[in-house]
């Protein structure tokens, strides 16, 4: 591929990683997807697809080397035994079919993996409890056991055995995972390692465990596989941890002879959003102030991440010697075909990662497959058979009217057009994107606009391919009569949702008395976006929502000079703990002097004041007092709080009146040539952008299926009763008597 005279040739120039050759500079670093070893089809199809899309190497997620490292309920891969090897092999084979290298990340979490399934205790340099919320929301929950030299030998042998199993599974690369405060990093990092024997104290002693482990693996696998280590070169807490200018570079220099490539990043696991930086706080290449020093300390190739989605930036970091290879996790999820698109010069077709970290949120909450806001097919490759770039041709010539060009409507229209249907997409706004147009104006969320931009570009290309298709923006809102008279065989209603203007909320399922956004001093988020109502000096945000709206609006108004208070029934931005936006969001709220009243509900709104109460103010004692009587005492914590403007971030409700009226007039469908009317996205039920996008995509894929309004069952990967996982095992119940 190289030497076509293109400026991008360097990205397609092969590079040696020890005994293996990486065919280009695109390296999918290990990242979780929710497949682990229990969903081998998911694992195979998701990773294999990236090989098809041009990635030079594709890694597993963190792959536990031994039952002593059990990260459940977060889903990770495991390479404990032959059963796991069998389940990982389809991934390897699929990757190899497309000429890419397959990598296995050898993971030993120490106390950062809670052992909830295996009930094991991990070994480490000292005894400490994890600073990471091993059980979500509960940092400090999980302890380890200090290893003596016997235990050290045993642990290193676990790594060796796992590396051999990885080799025998067919992996080309093994990566000893020492980033994110995992595995050998706990030995190098003086934050954890306070030993005084030959494995602690001096830098050389703290590095000993890692170096010995690499040596032992190399001795076992030889040149059968390329040996890589993933290393955090700065843990970001100064001299209490590893600093790039001290232990970081020294370790790179010391360990280089033992390995074939460096996979480097910064930070730890407790705040791994400093590595997988959300776009709210971090731009492309945000780690390079640290990473740029690595190549001066090693002659081995260096791969690093930084949410690389822009080919120009990739060229820059390679040409200026920051890295040799572009590492990517999130951009490879948003667009598994990014390398091919760059090679073909199709830059405008790249589905750019928006850095929302919703993918990560699914791993962080534990137990569920990941999703992607941009790429609705991520995680759906195997179970639904969805290819991100290829589509089943239209099965009929039934044309479709899509009302609403937000995430669900624009994605539905895009996929229908890709399939070859004639589609008319209609929206009242002048721009495709619906709600995303508003959200992307919130502080730090500008890159979320990439979600809209991708669909806008694709739809404008697709509409040119079919003269019968049409995108009509800036139109008056369609009535049921308009829809009935439109002449479409199928109608998709994607009219979105709105924030309750009367304070409907999940705690009472009723309005908040006095909450009325038609009054001058009460605003919904939509009214904030419109910018027509004046906002007073003292802003009170009444928050019943767990995601980004409250902290975002608080930031917006605080930066504009308002005094902002958030009264919140739950944690402010609670979900953002899962997207890794949490820590810096709380720092931002603190920095801007935003007052947070926690565990606080609102019982009444009046001009100039709101009545607030502690949600736990009704006493802990419950007793039966007869019908019509509350089982607890009356909440006596109510108090008035003065403010000039109230912003209601309570519940959302679907904009479903058009759909309801059309359903009510079902008898008129046939005479108007309408086969069916569907409702998708927020218009069906409010949800996050990723799920609205998915719903639009799903309907477009399934529109010829039976009952397309309702999801077609997918292929489930479940253990089959009566079948042993490992050879020689008896799957029957065997009492140990």
């Amino acid at each position: 591929m190289a030497n076509t005279g293109s400026a991008y040739d360097i990205l397609f120039t092969p590079i040696k990683i020890g005994p293996k050759t990486l065919k280009n500079r695109f390296y999918q670093v290990p990242h979780c997807i929710g497949a682990g070893t229990n969903y081998p089809g998911f694992q195979m199809a998701h990773r294999g697809l990236k090989a098809e899309g041009g990635w030079g190497a594709i890694n597993t997620e963190q792959c536990s080397i031994h039952p002593e490292c059990d990260d459940s309920l977060r889903i990770t891969a495991r390479i404990w035994d032959e059963g796991d090897m069998r389940n990982l092999r389809p991934m390897v084979d699929h990757i190899h079919q497309h000429g890419a290298l397959a990598g296995c990340e050898l993971f030993y979490g120490g106390p950062h993996a809670p052992g909830l399934e295996t009930r094991t205790i991990s070994r480490g340099p000292n005894q400490y409890n994890s600073d990471f919320a091993t059980v979500p929301g509960c940092p400090g929950f999980t302890y380890n056991h200090m290893a003596d030299e016997d235990e050290i030998d045993r642990l290193q042998q676990h790594y060796v055995n796992a590396a051999l199993r990885a080799r025998d599974t067919g992996y080309d690369i093994v990566d000893v995972y020492g980033a994110h405060a995992y595995g050998p990093m706990q030995w190098l990092n003086p934050y954890y390692n306070t030993r005084t024997d030959k494995y602690g104290g001096s830098f050389e002693n703290r590095a000993r465990f890692w170096i010995e482990t690499l040596e032992r693996i190399r001795k076992a696998v030889g040149n059968d596989v390329a040996l890589v280590t993933r290393c955090s070169i700065d843990t970001l807490y100064g001299d209490a941890g590893v600093e790039v200018g001290e232990d970081g570079l020294k370790f790179i220099e010391l360990a280089s002879p033992y390995l074939d490539m460096w996979n480097v990043n910064i930070g730890d696991i407790t705040e791994w959003g400093e590595d997988a930086g959300p776009s709210r706080f971090y731009r492309i290449g945000h780690q390079n102030e640290w990473i740029r020093h690595i190549k001066q300390a090693t002659n081995k190739p260096v791969v690093a991440v930084g949410r690389y989605y822009d080919p120009e930036k990739m060229l820059e970091v390679i040409n200026t010697g920051v890295v040799d290879i572009i590492g990517a996790a999130r951009p490879s999820i948003a667009d598994p075909f990014m390398p091919n698109k760059i090679r073909e010069g199709r830059f405008e077709d790249i589905r750019t990662c928006i850095g929302c970290n919703v993918c990560i949120s699914r791993w962080e909450m534990g137990g569920v497959p990941f999703i992607c806001t941009q790429n609705a097919t991520a995680g759906e490759e195997y179970r639904r058979g969805w290819h991100p770039e290829k589509f089943e041709p239209a099965k009929s010539d039934k044309d479709v009217l899509v009302v609403g060009a937000g995430p669900a409507g624009s994605e539905c229209a895009r996929v229908l057009m890709e399939r070859g249907y004639t589609v008319h997409l209609v929206d009242a706004r002048d721009k495709i994107g619906g709600y995303v147009n508003d959200v992307a104006t919130l502080p730090g969320l500008g890159e979320w606009g990439y979600h809209r931009d991708y669909r806008e570009i694709q739809l404008n290309k697709l509409v040119k391919k079919n003269k019968q298709s049409q995108i009509a923006l800036g139109q008056k809102r369609m009535t049921a009569d308009d829809v009935l008279n439109y002449g479409a065989a199928r109608v998709v209603i994607a009219t979105g949702a709105h924030w309750s203007p009367i304070g409907l909320n999940h705690r009472t399922q009723k309005p908040i008395p006095g909450a009325d956004a038609s009054l001058p001093h009460v605003l919904t988020p939509e009214q904030v976006f419109e910018g027509k109502k004046p906002v007073g000096k003292r802003v009170m945000i009444i928050n019943y929502d767990p995601y980004y709206m409250a902290p975002s609006l608080a930031e917006k108004f605080a930066r504009a000079g308002h005094e902002v208070t958030i009264a919140s029934v739950g944690g402010v931005g609670a979900y953002m703990e899962y997207t890794l936006e949490g820590p810096n969001t709380h720092r931002m709220l603190h920095e801007l002097d935003i007052t947070i009243l926690g565990e606080t509900g609102c019982s009444r709104i009046e001009p100039g004041r709101v009545e607030l109460f502690s949600i736990y103010g009704e006493g802990s004692k419950r007793q039966y007092k007869g019908s019509g009587q509350l089982p607890r005492k009356e909440n006596d914590s109510h108090h008035w709080h003065e403010c000039d403007t109230v912003i209601l971030i309570t519940s959302r409700r679907s904009n479903d009146s058009l759909f309801r009226e059309l359903k009510a007039r079902k008898s008129e469908w046939a005479k108007n040539g309408i086969d069916n009317v569907f409702v998708i996205g927020d218009a069906e039920a409010p949800r996050i952008i990723a799920d609205a996008t998915f719903d639009g995509h799903r309907l477009a894929r399934e529109i010829e299926d039976e009952s397309p309004q309702h999801q077609k069952p997918f292929k489930r990967e479940q253990k089959v009763w009566g079948v042993a996982y490992n050879p020689g095992e008896n799957p029957e119940l065997e009492w140990r008597l």
Binding site: A7, L315, N319, T320, G321, D399, L401, T422, H424, V426, K464, K467, Q468, Q470, A472, G474, Q475, N485, Y486, G487, A488, G673
Partner: protein
Amino acid sequence: MKILVAVKQVAFLDDEFEMRDDGRDVDADFFEKDLNEFDHFSVEEAMLIKEAAGDAAEVVIAIIGDEDADDALRTALAKGADRGIRVWDEALADADGVAVARVLAKVVEREKPDMVFTGAQSADFGSAVTGMALAGLLGWPHTAVVCNLDYAPGAGTATIRRELEGGLEEIMTIRCPAVLSIQLGINQPRYASLRGIKQAKQKPVDELSLDDLGLSAAEVVPAARVRRMYAPERGKAELITGSAAEQAARLAEIIKELRGM
């Protein structure tokens, strides 16, 4: 009562394109064709008059072009116009605005409309001459770049507003029938519904030749001829790559070159 709207199928260039071998036009392989943007507004204006008159007015779309031009014609019909007329003859292949006006004049004689609309200009060549030439040939009044129109079907006059230089506006009365060149922004053009698109396929279109209109090829010889079409050389951009030192060296080289050192 009848309004004739003369429309054009215009060509858009792809991002990258090549010239024809004779160097007088872009190779048609690199065109995308569509209804002239201005004509969306003239068709809409006719449709608004028709609808205000309770559909008593007939809107006839006229286009000059080969079968390819049917797409543009049907686009206009899909918005609700009643019928179409497409005139074609190989002799019209290089027709300029004046030649097109000669053809349209014959169409007007045949149709006898109460009003003729054209777009203010075509998006591809922008000569803005067809409407004016047509009015000249017919001996009808003409107004260019109409921004607002007050006209009741069958009325003897229409009131027109035009925007002039320096933010001035001009209000004028014009005797009908007349030829009006309609400016962008006079209205908000509608999109066709799927029903409109389907119905447009069934609407009558008269396909006429020069013969049918009593014209000879000699009468539509263009008054002007394109000699050459080309993309003038422009300033070049260069992506400077390499190490910082290499980039700096290349930059210095370029500066020296530009300064003639």
